[in-house]
Amino acid sequence: MASFMSLVIAGLATGAIYALIAIGFSLLWQTSQTINFAQGEFVMLPAFFVLAAINAGAPFWLAALIGLVISVIILGAMFKRLLVDPMLRHGVLPLAIATMALSIFLRESVKEFYSAEASPFPSFIPGTTIGFAGISVSLQHVGVVLVAIASVMALTALLDRTPIGRQMQACAQNPDVARILGIPVERMIMYTFLINGLLVGIASLLVSPIYLAKFSSGETLGLAAFIAAIVGGFNRIRGAIAGGFLLGIADNLAAAYVSTQYRGAVPLFLLIAVILLRPQGLFGKAEERTV
């Protein structure tokens, strides 16, 4: 039972990271029909911005900050301006394909110009294990869960309680209606890209100390976030959160109780089950779009 609880907590940590990535993923879909197949690479990359800054002599806290700022600029603003805007004019599918190409480009670039090896990555939270009521818990896992939950809460507060957030919601529901209400739709879409840039940056800072910084780590993360978003209902933030946690826990339990070999299959089983039983996702609504 104790080890079951430890696994659940580890699963919550993984799930919290998946949730962050999945939220960004579904935000982009909702406001601009962008299916970002490079989302996993977007999480892989900021860790290397941070490592580069550390190599240049910056202390970790500064390097982390630089990493976040760069990921907001490059993975947020530049991604939208240079890739999404020009491609979206040709349609949703060409854009999706372009993001697939981008994912390969980012992966191979890191491999080519940084390293093909996994690099250790510093952490704000010590990796010590604490005992609590007979359960041994990694402090790092607890920290990850707390930071991720705080991020999600900050984001939902922004969306629900601030005029900007409410305008973003309006754009997600229906950009044409938002426009006639005077909402600057283009600017709101840009904000969602910036938010995604920040979310993947945070996710990168959280995941890299656990799984190391590696050029190929985006593959699993991207797939997991994609599945979490679909499982939760592609068009809901709440769904992405639930989907992320569900996937994280299932993932960790399966690795321990079934087989590490089949671990990678768990998300796919979950995906197939949801598609068969509840195609609109656990929280989604058929044909409607909302935050």
Partner: protein, 244 residues
Amino acid sequence: MDNPLLKLDGIIAGYGSMTILNGTSFEVRRGVITTVIGPNGAGKSTVFKAIFGLLKLRAGSIHFDGQSITGWSPRRLIEAGIVYVPQGRNIFPEMSVRHNLEFGAVAAANIADLPQRIEAALDRFPALREKADVQASTLSGGQQKQLEIMRGLLLDPKLILIDEPSIGLSPLLVQETFAILKELRAKGVTILMIEQNARMALEMSDDGLVLELGQTRLHGPAHDILNDPRIAQLFLGGAMGAAA
């Protein structure tokens, strides 16, 4: 016309390389209902989009209440006192009626007494009060239109641009919607309306404006247009004039 509320001067605009508005010019009197009629594809809806800043002008100018609003964003135009109710369904179907109303003011400058205004608006439309907290998708077509009009009214506009409000409504609901517009006119709000239901609309209007190929063909008292034999033949006879 002295001191019109809205003045379009030589507007040239369109979609891509296609020119729809070909030097459109007209003026809209204050405090009256003006109905715009014209054949399908004449550019009626396009004029509204141009006025509301949704379409880039290639030439021409627009003045509102004495100042140039050429090139203004929808947000600025709303703040200046223009609201736009396009054709079709323009609500957030998944949100409650009340939330839809609140979102009407989300981009505009802070309206301190918004909750009171919403209450007052709900008092005016009992059918909507009944459904204030249920999803707007449950409203009938007429109620949705009323919701859109109401949402615009919360902003206390000087001018309402309304595109084919009667489309898809039962005759009774058309009457009701037109009654709301007349009520607004009585309060001093200026209304510029596009209507296919031309005869009925002109009968309650002060002015009529005939648009053809992106240009003003005729503009004058609604009664004159109703009685113009050419217009009667072109737009008021047959299917168009029949109460839809």
